[in-house]
């Protein structure tokens, strides 16, 4: 990992000078950040105890965005859970949709068609870029680099356009169904995606030029928000935040799913576990994801996009209107849901912020009995006090940015 500049650490003023300064009387002060605060991404309330500008204690209070995700899922059919999963990490909804479906398919014991696997990989990576662009842009914005934010958001906007062509929605995608996908790629989409990626590549160059070697930016990022590897594992950090500590764990490589084992990509690994490394992880993953999207769309074979099993997937409309078997399957699927046999499963995918784990329990009734989601942001947010206690208040902002906490998934 190339370092951006070879800056020297500034010398502190000599002792004699600081002796001339009068002792400043301070007292501990408790301040509230949030829950409605632009730097608190979503709705987290931080109670911060300050001594001067140093944070003595920080206590994040979450739950303002709690929607009862699990309770809602337990009362609808398996496919009807999908709109709820959109709203977990609403910046990369497709990855939540597909991660949930993968766990359900594992519980049913389904192998999905190859074309669906390729499209799932491409769509996931597209949304990983969407997530990372948002994160990188927001870092720039909150550290005072508004132009970098605009470039990143322009790229994100283009991805949203492609996603809306693919899924019909910009944000809440509800993409995929148990057993495959609900719709195939639109005509001419691959070409448009490739041109979009060219444009994003250009925009990323701009962001990179504005931020990566920027003196002010590096000063705010390097050496701030540090967490030790031991603590990062203890708190359950995954994804770019764990890899910034030098731990090479990525579900896509460690336990390849779909067709990730056929994709050529590298996993960037940092070493310092600070804000700057976490930023660099995301910048590099953007480039790797771009390559994966191109490769997956190029290699996707023609074929069906959903399993040909009417107990799981809706029959084609001609069969529904033309045959009695089609009508019955359609009716049973809509009214009773996908018949998932009783059992339990833990399954995970690599979402933009880390391991997205699902623990599902089925009682065989067509509705989930239990849907546990291991959202990466929850674990990372619980480690934030450790990263900022004893540091300056100003470090809290870049730390909160680089962990990329998303209120929706943390607060379920």
């Amino acid at each position: 990992m190339a370092h951006a500049d070879e800056r020297e650490i500034e010398e502190r003023p000599p002792e004699e000078d600081s002796e001339l300064e009068a002792h400043l009387q301070t007292r501990r002060m408790m301040i509230n950040l949030g829950p409605s605060h632009p730097a608190m991404h979503g709705t987290v309330r931080m109670r911060v105890e300050l001594e001067g500008e140093t944070i003595v204690r920080a206590d994040p209070e979450i739950g303002f965005l709690h929607r009862g995700f699990q309770k809602s899922c337990e009362n609808v059919t398996w496919n009807q859970c999908l709109p709820y999963t959109d709203r977990l990490n609403y910046v990369s909804a497709i990855m939540n949709n597909l991660g949930f479906l993968k766990a359900v398919e594992k519980l049913v014991g389904l192998e999905i068609p190859e074309r669906a696997q390729y499209i799932r990989v491409a769509a996931s990576e597209l949304h990983r870029m969407h997530d990372h662009l948002t994160c990188v842009g927001a870092i720039g914005l909150e550290l005072g680099g508004f132009s970098a934010f605009l470039y990143a958001i322009e790229g994100r906007e283009l991805i949203m356009d492609r996603v809306s062509e693919l899924t019909g929605a910009r944000l809440t995608t509800t993409f995929g169904r148990v057993g495959g996908l609900n719709r195939d790629l639109p005509d001419g989409w691959i070409d448009r995606v490739n041109r979009t990626l060219d444009k994003i590549h250009e925009l990323l160059g701009e962001v990179d030029g504005l931020l990566t070697a920027n003196r002010i930016f590096v000063d705010r990022m390097r050496g701030t928000g540090v967490i030790t590897t031991q603590d990062a594992l203890d708190f359950g950090f995954t994804g770019p935040c764990l890899r910034a500590n030098g731990i090479n764990y990525d579900v896509r490589k460690a336990h390849p799913y779909w067709v990730y084992d056929r994709m050529n990509f590298d996993i960037p690994v940092g070493q310092n576990g600070d804000n700057y490394d976490r930023y660099l992880m995301r910048m590099e993953e953007l480039k790797q994801s771009e390559a994966i999207v191109r490769q997956a769309l190029k290699e996707a074979p023609p074929g069906p996009i959903i399993v040909d099993d009417w107990r799981v997937a809706l029959p084609p409309k001609a069969e529904v209107y033309g045959t009695i078997e089609g009508v019955i399957s359609h009716f049973k699927l809509v009214m009773e849901g996908v018949p998932v046999p009783p059992g339990e499963v833990y399954d995970c995918t690599e979402a933009a912020n880390g391991e997205l784990g699902w623990y599902l329990v089925s009682d065989g009734s067509g509705r989930p009995y239990k849907v546990h989601v291991r959202s990466p942001g929850f674990a990372i947010l619980s480690g934030v006090p450790r990263m900022i206690e004893g540091r300056m208040l100003a470090d809290l902002i870049p730390t909160f940015d680089t962990i990329n906490m998303i209120g929706g998934e943390v607060e379920q």
Partner: protein
């Protein structure tokens, strides 16, 4: 998937396990006795052959509506080893009356928030937890919403809600009266 690890722990602590089984999808589970939880977790974390240092998550299941509903609660733990690249699934069973199990916070700091989550939503107490407050619901909230006997449409507003009569289904039960 993690059968190797479970066998290793079982050799070391044969009395700690109630049961060991493999679920339908091939995941190996170890069911622990509550008293031996901390001992086993500490061993899993420190033994270099196991090295389960990454605390992924934990949650609970209320088995009230399942066929074998006694004991009522199951608390599940998911660990990961970044050196051996294995997942580990552990379970503890807890009864219906004032369920209590030992806290894992002294071994994994990440367990802190997850235990608060399980307390908040299932009402399972963790003995030795430094700060067992609700985490997502508010302090004034009564009951534990993910228990199966907590009604789906129950509402507990902090300020009284105005009844909405023109919408058939709610919010909650106030509109149906």
């Amino acid at each position: 998937m993690s059968l190797r690890a479970l066998t290793l722990v079982k050799e070391k602590y044969p009395d700690a396990f109630v049961e060991q089984y493999t679920d339908r999808t091939g995941g190996a589970w170890g069911v622990l006795k509550p008293d031996s939880l901390r001992q086993v977790l500490a061993h899993l974390k420190d033994d270099p052959q196991l090295d389960f240092k990454l605390f992924l998550s934990m949650d609970a299941v209320d088995r009230l509506q399942l066929t074998d509903s006694v004991p009522r609660f199951e608390v599940v733990y998911f660990l990961y080893s970044v050196t051996h690249h294995e997942h580990l699934r552990l379970k503890i069973r807890a009864g219906e009356e004032a369920p209590e199990i030992p806290s894992a916070t002294s071994i994994f700091q990440g367990a802190n928030w997850w235990e608060r989550f399980v307390w908040d939503f299932y009402g399972i107490r963790f003995t030795g937890h430094p700060d067992l407050r609700r985490i997502l619901m508010y302090e004034e909230f009564k009951g534990h919403p993910l228990r199966k006997d907590y009604p789906l449409r129950e509402r507990q507003p902090l300020i009284p809600e105005r009844p909405i009569r023109d919408i058939f289904r709610g919010p909650g039960t106030s509109g149906t009266a």
